[in-house]
Amino acid sequence: MSAPGIIVAGLRKRFGTTLALDGMSFAVHPGLVTGFVGPNGAGKSTTMRVVLGLDAVDEGTALIDGRPYRRLRRPLTHVGSLLDAAALHPGRSARNHLLWLAHSQGLPGRRADQVIEEVGLSSAARRKAGGYSLGMRQRLGIAAALLGDPPIIMLDEPFNGMDPEGIVWMRGFLRSLAAQGRAVLVSSHLMSELQDTADQLVAVGRGKVIADTSVTGLIEAASRNRVAVRTTVPAGATTALVRAGATVAAVGRDTITVSGIGPDRIVTLLNDSTVPFSEVSAHHATLEEAYLELTRNAVEFRAETPTEVPR
């Protein structure tokens, strides 16, 4: 029985002297939105191209429902993908673009109209794609990914170029795809985009996975034992709390997070030092904070941050 979803194992690929993929391994499961995160150049797009059989690897395997992509019959009914939304013939309309894709999978032409409806592109469907905004191209790309009604959806930076409204729509849309039981892989280099969207996080750096974890667990771990304190004199509060042995970090103009001591003790300390404060609460870490916490521990990734200021 073949395993559903995407399974990537030990991918290695070299472009000239650059090692683009260095043992990339992870799995994408049905019913979950998996965030594929890492800085630019970490190997996200290369991995996705390998999964789609566009790039060959020196070592390793990437399987869709247990088979390599190039062996799939009617591949778009297995996996829908969006790599580059700008990759359109400028003289062809959205509908005709989806039409040839539909024909390539033996799907009827009305399937194209359905997905156009689904992504909210009906009004522009018969206009030439050359005149589309980046957001419209993204929607067209999503429509193409949905065309074959595939159990797996793979999107490379789908939030790029979307307006705030579009981002909200996209989040809801990704959630609904997962809720329908599909496996969804979404790459991004901005954590905030995946906030409240991703269930699982695959963080990559330098061509390999540095963390593969559930988002809930990750945020819990990052929030654990931390207390947020809102105060008009963060400097005074910091002095008072550090003296008592706490670790303090500033997170905003008037907010600090404290770890090492509990909330009751913080209230006592601040009162004793007559530092004014308006709120003491359990800290809820953002995905970005959690991600930074996570990558701070990854040696591989840290080596990538420049340690020397260029002169």
Partner: protein
């Protein structure tokens, strides 16, 4: 394969440029043929040469438009990056490439047939009545020249497709194709040594392939009509092979 072919057909008919290029092929071929036949001075005894070949001279120009069409079939996808979408839809490279080749063959066959028939018709109307020498497709050599010219245009399309798949950039591909076609007929004019001249004309895709149009004085040809078309077919096959292999081997 059937699905890939259907998709390629949808692709080619949903943008405007292929249709215009095919119409252009017909128009340019017929116009040049008609222009050339109308300037030669003919007497009742003949035109001092091979009138069939003259009537079909328009393909010298028409083939350039066929070349653009075939180059754009693949290079426009590389240009926009859509080749990746195509390959995710049809992951088997050979299937995708074969579908493109068949589509090119089909559309060029139709346009080429119309262009050749138009040229022959123009020739019949323009050239004086030559009695038993009049152009007629009932005539074996003339029929061979006309049908061979359609095949020639198809081969030029396939040659261009192969080169463009290997090269990927449209300007470089079209430059390469036009260079391959036009340069040898020109330099062979300037080469005085007849052995070299014949050798060049025997191996060059245009000089050899257009031997198919000759209906008179076959003995003076550097290569026989069908063998000449075979040389062009060899070029097309080599280009398709190179393009197909590179498409399979390369990351997209």
């Amino acid at each position: 394969m059937r699905l890939a072919l259907h998709a390629e057909w949808t692709k080619i008919r949903t943008v405007a440029s292929p249709l215009w290029l095919l119409l252009g092929t017909v128009a340019a071929t017929v116009a040049l043929s008609a222009g050339a036949t109308s300037v030669v001075s003919c007497t009742s005894s003949g035109c001092g040469g091979d009138t069939t070949k003259l009537t079909l001279i328009g393909v010298d120009l028409g083939q350039a438009l066929v070349a653009i069409l075939a180059v754009l079939v693949i290079s426009s996808e590389y240009n926009s990056g859509m080749i990746r979408t195509s390959l995710t839809a049809v992951p088997r490279r050979t299937t995708l490439f074969a579908a493109k080749a068949i589509t090119v063959t089909g559309v060029v066959a139709v346009a080429g047939t119309v262009a050749v028939l138009g040229s022959v018709l123009a020739g019949r109307l323009i050239l004086p009545d030559l009695g038993d020498q009049a152009l007629s497709l009932d005539d074996g050599p003339t029929l061979r020249a006309a049908s061979g010219t359609v095949l020639y245009l198809i081969l030029i399309g396939l040659l261009s497709l192969g080169i463009a798949t290997a090269v990927r950039d449209s300007a470089t591909s079209i430059g390469g194709v036009l260079g391959l076609l036009y340069i040898v007929p020109i330099i062979s004019q300037t080469i005085s040594d007849p052995d070299w001249q014949h050798l060049l004309e025997k191996i060059a895709p245009m000089s050899a392939g257009l031997a198919i149009q000759t209906t008179t004085n076959l003995g003076s040809l550097p290569i026989s009509p069908w063998a000449g078309l075979g040389v062009t077919a060899g070029w097309a096959a080599a280009a398709l092979l190179a393009g197909g292999l590179l498409l399979r081997m390369r990351d997209s």
